[in-house]
């Protein structure tokens, strides 16, 4: 029965391949079909989530009936189950949003790319094989390239070009890393790599890990390779922006952390952690400082998103259990909040034509619900108590204090301060300045989605313990590599 979790991969693929056959049915039909498919995917993901969290054991999907390391396995542990659920839910919301937001032809191609982007992120989080990870990463990346350029304007093409060039460099580096690892171990399975990690030559391990981190840094938007991110966020269609921020980045950073933590017991680990810390810190600083001078709200949010990812990376770089807990919690919260923010901003942009600051003047009177949603999101991101991100930032602070890294504490506080500056500027613009124009009737479905997300934010903010329990299990799955190795049923006899 557990093998039916492979439907998570099979369903989006099958439905994406079905689209060319039904494209004559009309644009609206395709978009409704998209919502239906993502809803079914949500159902499957919820079932998987329930199974994993009630039984407490991960689901191992074995493709082709060959046990790992001979075959490829999907490892749906606590972390993966949680994030697959988030991916499915966000995709469903965005499919609903697409009905309103997407009107550039050809819609059927958009639907295929949308489904495959979701598939790629799901696979990246679920897979237990390093080359399979590469394949899913490329699925994600290539559909993301195509979706970034989907609007066919000059900016969209430019952003897509940047993304493609950086992504190409990244994937080449990643493959070189795989070649190094494979050349010294002879296996590609993540669990077996973890098992044999101590046998690997430290020079090779360090080089391979650095290459892998650099390769994934493109997806994870870490500093030297994230020049594409703001452009892509700004130029891509609004639902796609949400998907980038909510789960494509998360999938990238998850993959990076999973690979890095496999080498926990080796000499190379400390060096890589330092690299991660440096990259994360630089990402935070540059992201926040760039966000200050933006006039385009979507771009501003993009920089903010980059900065948050930097914080997550810093959290993983500290690498104590508490810090990992906090980082995973921050990933979850950030996914929720950024979904809300980009959804609301995208809705404003769809209504008024562009997400420029001008259009936000007096929004509180014209689109009160949307403005309310943006307000809650902004307050939450800044880290005001009683909202969810407060808790994750707070726990990150505590974790950093525990190991005595005061620099990180200063970084988090400073980042929050800068965030407060630019978010409150936006809020001021929305509520206290007069804009021109009538009050606008807001869309019911989007309103419900926004309210749901707002409620989630507040609930987590007020009563974090329940989610905290889930997060702790998820992060234990990430941190406890020995348990991970034990969980994967490695074939006996295929070991040196």
């Amino acid at each position: 029965m557990m093998q039916y979790a492979s439907l998570l991969i099979a369903l989006p693929l099958f439905s994406a391949f079905l689209v060319p056959l039904i494209k004559r049915a009309g644009k609206k039909v395709i978009l409704y079909y998209l919502s239906l498919v993502t809803l079914i995917q949500t159902g499957i993901a919820a079932w998987v989530f329930k199974e994993v969290y009630t039984s407490g054991k991960p689901i191992i999907v074995i493709a082709g009936g060959f046990k790992p390391p001979v075959g490829i396995n999907l490892y749906i542990g606590h972390f993966a189950a949680l994030f697959i659920l988030i991916i499915a839910v966000v995709s469903f919301f965005m499919a609903v949003f697409s009905i309103k937001a997407i009107n550039v032809d050809p819609i059927d191609k958009y639907a295929m790319l949308f489904l495959l982007l979701m598939l790629g992120a799901t696979g990246m989080i679920a897979t237990g094989d390093i080359f399979n990870l590469f394949v899913f990463m490329e699925i994600t990346a290539i559909s993301a390239y195509a979706l970034t350029g989907y609007n066919k304007t000059g900016e969209a093409s430019e952003a897509a070009m940047k993304y493609i060039v950086l992504g190409g460099i990244g994937s080449s580096f990643f493959l070189v890393g795989i070649a190094l690892l494979y050349g010294s171990l002879g296996t590609l399975n993540l669990a077996q790599i973890a098992m044999l990690a101590s046998k690997i030559n430290p020079t090779v391990a360090q080089a391979a890990l650095a290459l892998l981190v650099f390769g994934l840094a493109v997806e994870a938007e870490l500093f030297p390779l994230n020049a594409w991110a703001p452009d892509a966020y700004q130029a891509s269609p609004h639902p796609v922006t949400v998907m980038f921020s909510a789960f494509v980045v998360k999938a990238g950073i998850y993959a990076m952390i999973r690979i890095v933590y496999l080498f926990k017991d080796t000499q190379a680990f400390m060096g890589i952690l330092n690299l991660l810390l440096i990259l994360g810190t630089l990402t935070v600083i540059i992201g926040e400082l760039s966000a200050l001078r933006q006039t385009n709200v979507k771009r501003m949010l993009a920089y903010s998103s980059i900065a948050q990812v930097g914080l997550i990376a810093v959290g993983f770089g500290v690498a104590t259990p508490q810090a990992v807990d906090a980082a995973v919690f921050h990933m979850l919260n950030h996914a929720i909040v950024k979904t809300l923010m980009f959804l609301a901003v995208g809705y404003v942009a769809v209504t008024f034509g562009s997400p420029h600051m001008e259009n936000f003047k007096g929004l509180g009177k014209r689109m009160p619900l949307t403005a309310f949603a943006i307000t809650v999101g902004a307050i939450s991101i800044v880290g005001i108590p009683l909202f969810n991100i407060f808790w994750s930032k707070f726990k990150l602070l505590l974790a950093a204090l525990q190991v005595g890294k005061t620099g990180i504490v200063a970084l988090i506080l400073g980042a929050s301060l800068v965030e407060a500056v630019y978010y409150f500027r936006l809020l001021h613009l929305m509520w206290f300045e007069d804009g021109k124009g009538e009050k606008i009737e807001e869309d019911l479905a989007l309103g419900i989605i926004m309210l749901l997300l707002v409620a989630l934010i507040v609930v987590i903010g007020v009563y974090p313990d329940f989610v905290w329990g889930i997060v702790q299990k998820a992060s234990a799955d990430l941190y406890n590599v020995a348990q991970y190795v034990k969980n994967v049923p490695l074939l006996q006899g295929v070991s040196p």
């Binding site: 350029g149 000059g154 430019e158 460099i169 080449s172 070189v176 494979y182």
Partner: protein
């Protein structure tokens, strides 16, 4: 002492990287990307090579003891196809850019500013 194939593969990767970093013409950058991918593929294949053995197709007297490693070859099959997919998409985007800006020079394409 490093073997000839490793040397060639690393050189291809570096030449591609050099083209990406310093060239201004978009198509030239994509040529560089393509060369880089070729280099990576060559590196993977040469990692899987075992001296004095034959191709992993078990006919004509080849036995499991006399053949090279099949896995890198399978991986490279995948990587080549992915590479051509990326290249095709990138060229498409370059065509779109040219239609909008009438140039392929990346210094002159500056719609977005950071």
């Amino acid at each position: 002492m490093i073997s000839a194939y490793y040397f060639g593969a690393i050189s291809l990767i570096l030449i591609g990287l050099y083209a990406i970093l310093t060239k201004r013409n978009l198509l030239k950058i994509l040529v560089g990307l393509s060369i880089m991918e070729t280099g990576v593929n060559l590196l993977l294949i040469s990692v899987g090579y075992v001296s004095g053995r034959t191709a992993p197709i078990l006919t004509e007297g080849a036995t499991p003891q006399t053949t090279v490693d099949p896995i890198p070859q399978a991986l490279v099959l995948t990587a080549i196809v992915i590479g051509v997919a990326t290249t095709a998409l990138a060229l498409t985007v370059a065509i779109n850019l040219y239609e909008k800006y009438k140039t392929l020079d990346i210094e002159k394409i500056r719609g977005l500013r950071g």
